[in-house]
Structure formats: structure tokens, C-alpha cells
């Protein structure tokens, strides 16, 4: 067997380490889903939490010597696939309606008692926007810049 399966490790520390990796992934996913505002990044964070759960389940499965945990992870995978299909459609619909992937674009759906979320500080765009090559529309003759063509510093 070529895959680097840990064969000699003691059972309990292996379980604890597996659970710990799962806990880290879960916590990071939690932070992501609480803070980020891009709908897709929020979704990725939720998937991160699911990954944490999967790792924990497989660790338990290894410890107990039972396939139950692995079977449960297969179900987690399938549910995640369903969830991704439906969520992606919702995200696309939301994008076609608002033109943004921002969760705050849908804050009119919040509960009546909650205040409106307003961005008080707009971040500065300190890195310059990249310059894109501009191509001429098909069927039009390209605008030539003769000065630049005669003096360009590279070929």
C-alpha cells in the first residue's frame, strides 16, 4: 500500500490530533461565515466547517474501528453537493437581481427590530487597478498612436 496511512500510531493521540485538526477547521469556518460578506466566500466557510466535521468523524471511525463514521462522511459529502447546487442557483439569482455578491445587498430581509447596516468606513483602494489591453471592436479600424509607435521603449 503506497498511501501514507499511519499504521503504527497509538490510537488515542491519533484520535486527539484528528479531532483537533477538525476543531481548527470548524472554528476558522465559523469566523469566516461570521465576518465575510461575499456570498460565495460565506459559502466556502460553511463548507470549511463541514470539512472539519468530516475529519472528526473519520478520526472517530479510525478510533472505534467502525465504518459508521466514514459512511456518515459520505452522507455529508452528498448533502454538501445538494446544498452547493441549490445555493449556487440562489447566488446566481441574487447576482442577476442586485449586480453584487454582497450579503448586505439583501439586508432589507432583516428582522424589523434590527438596525440597518451601513458602511461607515469605505476602504481605500490603495493598490492601483491593473491596466487592461484595449482591443478595437471588430469591423472598426484601430486607432493608432503614432507618437507612441515611433518612440516605444521596447519591442
Amino acid at each position: 500500500m503506497m498511501l501514507p496511512t499511519l499504521l503504527a500510531a497509538a490510537a488515542l493521540p491519533l484520535l486527539q490530533n484528528g479531532l483537533f485538526v477538525g476543531a481548527i477547521l470548524f472554528s476558522l469556518g465559523l469566523v469566516g461565515i461570521l465576518t465575510r460578506r461575499n456570498l460565495i466566500v460565506m459559502f466556502l466557510s460553511a463548507e470549511l466547517m463541514l470539512q472539519g466535521i468530516s475529519v472528526s468523524l473519520v478520526a472517530w471511525s479510525r478510533y472505534h474501528g467502525d465504518f459508521g463514521g466514514q459512511v456518515l462522511v459520505i452522507f455529508v459529502l452528498s448533502v454538501a453537493a445538494c446544498e452547493a447546487a441549490v445555493a449556487l442557483v440562489f447566488v446566481l439569482q441574487a447576482f442577476t437581481r442586485t449586480g453584487r455578491l454582497d450579503a448586505a445587498a439583501w439586508q432589507s430581509l432583516r428582522e424589523a427590530s434590527l438596525p440597518r447596516s451601513v458602511d461607515h468606513e469605505i476602504p481605500a483602494f490603495n493598490d492601483a487597478m491593473p491596466s487592461f489591453p484595449r482591443l478595437t471592436q471588430a469591423g472598426h479600424s484601430p486607432a493608432t498612436d503614432e507618437a507612441a509607435a515611433s518612440q516605444r521603449d521596447h519591442v
Binding site: M1, M2, P130, F132, Q137
Partner: protein, 433 residues
């Protein structure tokens, strides 16, 4: 893993990896030459036949061409355009090549060696980098889905509309055709009862019935899907030169372009390996190779030669097809995947499952010979039935006249002309609104 010195098994694996990677890279270089010869043959030209040994007049039928090409492309300036996303631009070819090479860890390239009597090395030594990998076929799938990232990221990071369109087309195509590919493959896995490719080969050798004969529908579906997965004509939309310049590698030059091109050829080689191993019997040939696991040195070499010859034949088929068929349009490509290939693949899977379910009972009641005949006859019936159904139910031709919605740059005359053209086919206007 505990000792400092690598074990004999690790050394054996490293030797196999070296042989495999060296062989694949050489094969990729020389397949380019073969492809150009085939193209020349189809187009009634002579093709590359000049480059031989440098500084002499010896031409060697042009066999020096791949070396010269490789040297030229490696020595070219490694130019990075200023508007690209540097990190992903550099990472994309590496991802693609790594994934395409790592696929071969689970693909056997021969049968077994005769016993070597080296202490510490389990006998017999299989022609496989990672023997006993329980998930062989899935490994191939996983890595080919990682390879999609190379294409997608290369197209996106280039920051070029042709590159981007090529990347999007490519990933849509690969994701769509992975499903029929998997369905064709599932039939074989179901029959063989194993995910390991060497076990699948051995089963065909033992029974003498290649899966291409037992599951013709699955074979055809898999063949067509693997053409699409390898992005070869008639499915080469990701880099359709006439539409997209170079597709996702438009902005690449020098060694990175070389990496992309090599991985494309490796995709084709992978597809040929899979077709031969899973459907065409692998190293097995009736009456020549035998089917047991005990082999002599001559037998082992013979099996290796037969496998290589079959793979080369499939690759030649790929190349002849390239110069014989026109390219699909994107909607035709997607229609073929979802409306033809997917149902046919499902049909094949159901037939195979039915046969495998009833095989033991049939053998008990009517005997083994009749069972084999039935299990060979029914798939062929279904094959022709499915073929006819697909031919009848799908439209034989599509309306290829362009549908245009008026854009900001259209003149009044364009719009009027378009409206006049639309009036002639009201069903299209209805469908598009």
C-alpha cells in the same frame, strides 16, 4: 519509513517513476512528430523529414525534429505579460503538469515481472508505481479534476479575453464530459468488481472477453467522452484557433507553454491508456500472451509490447480523427454530453447491473455457455437499439444560422436586416424571447 535508508520497495517505486516519466516525456515529444506526419499524410504533404544528426547530411526521416523543437522552445524568452496575475499565471502550468503526471501512479504499464529474488521486494513485481492502491480509478478521476484547475487558472490569470473564454469553455466541457466518462467506467468497475486497473486487466485476460465486446455501449460512450476530456478534435473548443487564438494558453510563451502542450499530450496518452486497459484487454491477446500471473522474461516483455502497441494504435486513431472531423459548436457539444451521452451511459450501466445481478442464477439454471452468450448478446442488442434511438430522437441537424440580438454597435441597417431574417423563422424568435 522509520529508517534513514530507503527501503527496497521505495527504490523500486522510484525506478518505476523514473522509467515512466522519462518514457512519457519522450513519448510526448515523439507523438508530436507522429501527429505532424499523420497530418501531412492526410493532407497529402511530406511533413517534417529534414532534421537528423546536426552538422551531417544524415536526415533519419526527421527523427531529430522533437529535440530541435524542444531545444528551441526551452531557449525562448520566458516572457510574462505585465497585465497578468503573476502568482496564478506561474502556478497554472505546474498544477496542470503535476496532475497529469501524477495520474500515472495508478495506471499499470504492463503485466508483472518474473520473480527477481531480491530480498525485501515482494514477488512478482508489477508494472505499476503504486500497487495495491485500492482506489485506482478514483485516483485517476481525482487528479484529472485537479487538472481542470490548471486550465481554468491559466485562462483567468492571463487577463485576456481569449484566454478566459478558452478556460471557461474547457472547464465546462471537462465537467460535463466527466459524467459520461464515469458512467462508461462504472460499467466496467461493476463487472470487474474492483477499482484497481491491474485487476480489471487480469479479469479480461482470464475470461478472454474484453469489455469492449461485453459492453459496446459503454465503450463508445467512454471513447467519445475521453476525446472530449483530452480536448482533441472534434472537441477542441478550448483552444479553437480560428475563434480563440490559442485558448487558455494564448498569453504563455517559452517553457510554460511547453508545459501546457506536454500536459495536453499526456491527457491524450492517459485516455489511450484507460481505453486500452479497461476496454481493449490491456496486455492480453488471444493465444499469444497467456493469462496467468507466472511469466517468463520473454512473456513479460511480450505483454509490455502488446500493451504499448495497442496504446499506440489508439493514439493513431485519435490523430486520424483529428484530421477527419470538423469541430463541434459549443451548444452541440453540450447537447451531445447531456442529451445523448448521459442517457446512453445510464442505459449501459442499467444493462450491466442487470446482467451481473442475474448471472449466477442463469448459470445455475441454463449453464455457463448459454449465460456467456446471453451476456454478450444482450449488450449488443441494447447497443444498436440505443444507437437507433439516439439517432431518431435527437435532431439530425441544427439550425446554424446566427441568432443576433441588436447590440450597441449595430447600425440601423444591421438591425433591419436581422429583423427580416428573423421573420423567416418565427419558431426561433419565439424560443429566444
Amino acid at each position: 519509513m522509520t529508517g534513514l535508508l530507503p527501503s527496497i520497495e521505495t527504490i523500486a517505486a522510484l525506478v518505476k517513476i523514473g522509467l515512466l516519466v522519462g518514457g512519457l516525456m519522450t513519448a510526448a515529444a515523439y507523438l508530436v512528430l507522429v501527429e505532424r506526419w499523420i497530418a501531412a499524410w492526410v493532407q497529402d504533404r511530406r511533413g517534417p523529414n529534414r532534421v537528423g544528426i546536426p552538422l551531417t547530411k544524415i536526415r533519419l526521416f526527421g527523427l531529430g525534429q522533437p529535440l530541435a523543437d524542444g531545444l528551441k522552445i526551452i531557449l525562448k524568452e520566458d516572457f510574462t505579460p505585465s497585465h497578468v496575475d503573476k502568482v496564478l499565471y506561474n502556478a497554472a502550468p505546474l498544477v496542470l503538469l503535476t496532475a497529469s503526471l501524477a495520474i500515472f501512479a495508478a495506471i499499470p504499464f504492463g503485466s508483472v515481472l518474473p520473480p527477481l529474488d531480491i530480498p525485501g521486494l515482494p514477488d512478482p513485481v508489477p508494472f505499476l508505481v503504486a500497487p495495491g492502491l485500492d482506489v485506482g480509478v478514483l485516483w485517476v478521476f481525482a487528479l484529472s479534476s485537479i487538472a481542470v484547475y490548471g486550465v481554468l487558472l491559466g485562462g483567468w490569470a492571463s487577463n485576456n479575453k481569449y484566454g478566459f473564454l478558452g478556460g471557461l469553455r474547457s472547464s465546462a466541457q471537462l465537467v460535463a464530459y466527466e459524467i459520461p466518462l464515469g458512467l462508461g467506467l462504472l460499467g466496467v468497475v461493476l463487472s470487474a468488481g474492483s477499482l484497481q486497473l491491474d485487476v480489471i486487466m487480469n479479469q479480461q485476460a482470464e475470461s478472454g472477453i474484453w469489455y469492449a465486446f461485453a459492453q459496446p455501449l459503454g465503450f463508445v460512450v467512454f471513447l467519445i467522452a475521453s476525446f472530449a476530456e483530452a480536448a482533441r478534435l472534434p472537441f477542441d473548443l478550448p483552444e479553437a484557433e480560428q475563434e480563440l487564438v490559442g485558448g487558455y494558453h494564448t498569453e504563455y510563451a517559452g517553457i510554460k507553454l511547453l508545459l501546457f502542450l506536454v500536459s495536453e499530450f499526456l491527457h491524450m496518452v492517459t485516455a489511450a491508456f484507460l481505453i486500452v486497459i479497461m476496454f481493449l484487454g490491456g496486455w492480453h491477446l488471444w493465444g499469444v500472451t497467456g493469462s496467468s500471473q507466472e511469466v517468463t522474461w520473454i512473456g513479460a516483455l511480450l505483454r509490455f509490447g502488446i500493451l504499448s502497441a495497442k496504446i499506440f494504435a489508439v493514439i493513431l486513431f485519435f490523430m486520424v480523427v483529428r484530421w477527419s472531423w470538423p469541430r463541434f459548436r459549443f451548444d452541440q457539444l453540450m447537447n451531445l454530453a447531456w442529451k445523448v451521452m448521459l442517457p446512453l451511459g445510464l442505459l449501459n450501466l442499467v444493462v450491466v447491473a442487470t446482467i451481473e445481478e442475474f448471472r449466477p442464477r442463469l448459470e445455475a439454471s441454463v449453464g455457463a455457455g448459454l449465460t456467456t452468450g446471453l451476456s454478450l448478446g444482450l449488450p449488443w442488442l441494447i447497443f444498436f437499439g440505443g444507437w437507433i434511438a439516439a439517432g431518431v430522437l435527437t435532431p439530425s441537424g441544427t439550425d446554424n444560422r446566427p441568432i443576433r440580438t441588436p447590440g450597441p454597435f449595430d447600425s440601423e441597417r444591421d438591425i433591419e436586416r436581422q429583423a427580416a431574417a428573423d421573420e423567416q423563422r418565427p419558431e426561433l424568435v419565439e424560443a429566444s424571447t
